[in-house]
């Protein structure tokens, strides 16, 4: 029962939702709406799993005095500050909750991703080598695309056209092939899950 009933639920749910796409009768549309509505509610509680996990991991690191354990107090302080401020002061613009979002979370998050600009430049200098034919193709294409943003006088128009052609023809072909591969893999995985062949998402006994 610990395996059979969940596998039956997956099978019935999967087959119904797949068939419903092709048979949009009123009663099947109703059931489809209820399914989608209810799963969103299940998802609301599932998101809480991650929060509890974060709390447990931080407390565990503090208790066991793991390397850099003192910093986990900051994690917990940030977590509880936001929760308490959100619950007691509200989430409207201008409240303390949103101030912490705009003046702590936003600059840190934006800066972390801004670091990638430095790493991209470092990678371009240290790793981007025309060692082989395929590497040279990659490198030349990247340079042509980057030249789009540089005014080149009389050659600008030609460069814009070449870059546009690269994006809409060979790049498009490559990305379409990758997307098709992803689609085929996704359908195969979805079928394996619905038919009960793939069960890793259920965990172990």
């Amino acid at each position: 029962m610990r395996w059979q009933i969940p596998l039956l639920i997956v099978f019935i749910g999967g087959v119904f939702m797949a068939v419903q796409y092709f048979v949009p009768l009123e009663f099947s549309e109703r059931i489809y709406e209820y399914c989608v509505d209810w799963i969103i509610i299940v998802g609301v509680f599932a998101m809480g799993l991650g929060l509890w996990s974060l709390f447990r991991v931080s407390v565990s690191k503090i208790q066991t005095k793991a390397p850099a354990w003192k910093y986990n107090f900051l994690t917990l302080a940030g977590l509880f500050s936001m929760i308490l401020l959100g619950l007691f002061s509200g989430i409207e613009e201008g409240k303390a909750f949103m101030k912490l979002f705009w003046y702590i979370y936003t600059p840190i998050q934006a800066s972390m991703f801004a670091l990638l600009a430095f790493y991209v430049a470092s990678a371009a200098y240290r790793a981007f080598r025309a060692r082989t034919l395929v590497a040279t193709i990659l490198l030349l294409t990247a340079v042509v695309i980057m030249l789009r943003l540089i005014p080149l006088g009389s050659v600008s128009g030609l460069n814009q056209n070449v870059a546009s052609w690269i994006l809409t023809v060979p790049n498009m072909a490559a990305k379409r092939a990758i997307a098709m591969g992803i689609g085929l893999g996704g359908i195969a995985t979805a079928l394996k899950v619905v038919l009960g062949i793939e069960r890793s998402y259920m965990g172990k006994d």
Binding site: G14, G48, L74, Y103, A135, P170, A179, I187
Partner: protein, 208 residues
């Protein structure tokens, strides 16, 4: 800028510089910002989820509108939490099964339509050598076919098959090169925004 804004933006500037300090070397300021953002983002998400999802989708329908059938998905959601108990973790399989079944069932026809059938139809366009548009269609169809052949690893890439796969990898490299070129622009945009913030703050506060 008022005093409050100067202080809050000063805090944002401090956080920005804490993160940028990693470029020199690892240091406590970076660690402080790194750990703080994890807690703040988790707390932010928890509260947004509470106000935008739990209240309108669970609390109001059940408590105020008496739509008690919403207790069924609520119970399923609570059963997810059994995952943390070694003895009762099998109970969490029921809501996971419901989510996976519905999600996978929805995905099959939609993925087939949007990632296979429509792109296949779009690839099979009139081809030829008499105009640039027809020639481009030929290149696209050839490029897609060659790249798909490259991903077929059940046969060794030798002979004619290997030749087609080689053209496929060249096509893929053009795609990755285009991606890298656009990635540089994307990453630099984020840096521009941060430096613009630092410049504006220094101009407003220090009159530079």
């Amino acid at each position: 800028m008022g005093t409050g804004e100067i202080i809050w933006n000063g805090l944002a500037l401090f956080m920005t510089l804490c993160i940028f300090s990693i470029l020199y070397r690892d240091n406590p300021f970076y660690r402080i910002a790194e750990h703080l953002v994890v807690g703040v983002s988790a707390g932010y998400f928890a509260i947004i989820l509470y106000y935008t999802s739990f209240i309108p989708k669970v609390w109001v329908p059940v408590v105020h509108e008496h739509k008690f059938y919403y207790l069924v998905p609520t119970l399923l959601g609570v059963l997810m939490w059994a995952r943390f108990s070694r003895k009762w973790s099998w109970v969490s399989r029921y809501p996971i099964a419901a989510y996976m079944g519905i999600g996978m069932g929805v995905a099959i026809p939609v993925t087939m339509q949007t990632l296979i059938l429509v792109p296949l139809h779009a690839t099979m366009q009139p081809m030829g050598f008499t105009s640039m548009a027809l020639f481009n269609n030929l290149l696209v169809a050839g490029g897609v076919l060659c790249a798909l052949v490259y991903f077929f690893f059940s046969k060794e890439h030798t002979g004619a098959f290997g030749g087609v796969a080689k053209v496929g990898i060249w096509t893929l490299m053009v795609g990755f090169g285009a991606g890298f070129g656009l990635t540089v622009m994307g990453r630099v945009s984020l840096l521009i925004e941060r430096f613009t913030f630092i410049r504006d703050y220094l101009q407003n506060v220090l009159g530079l």
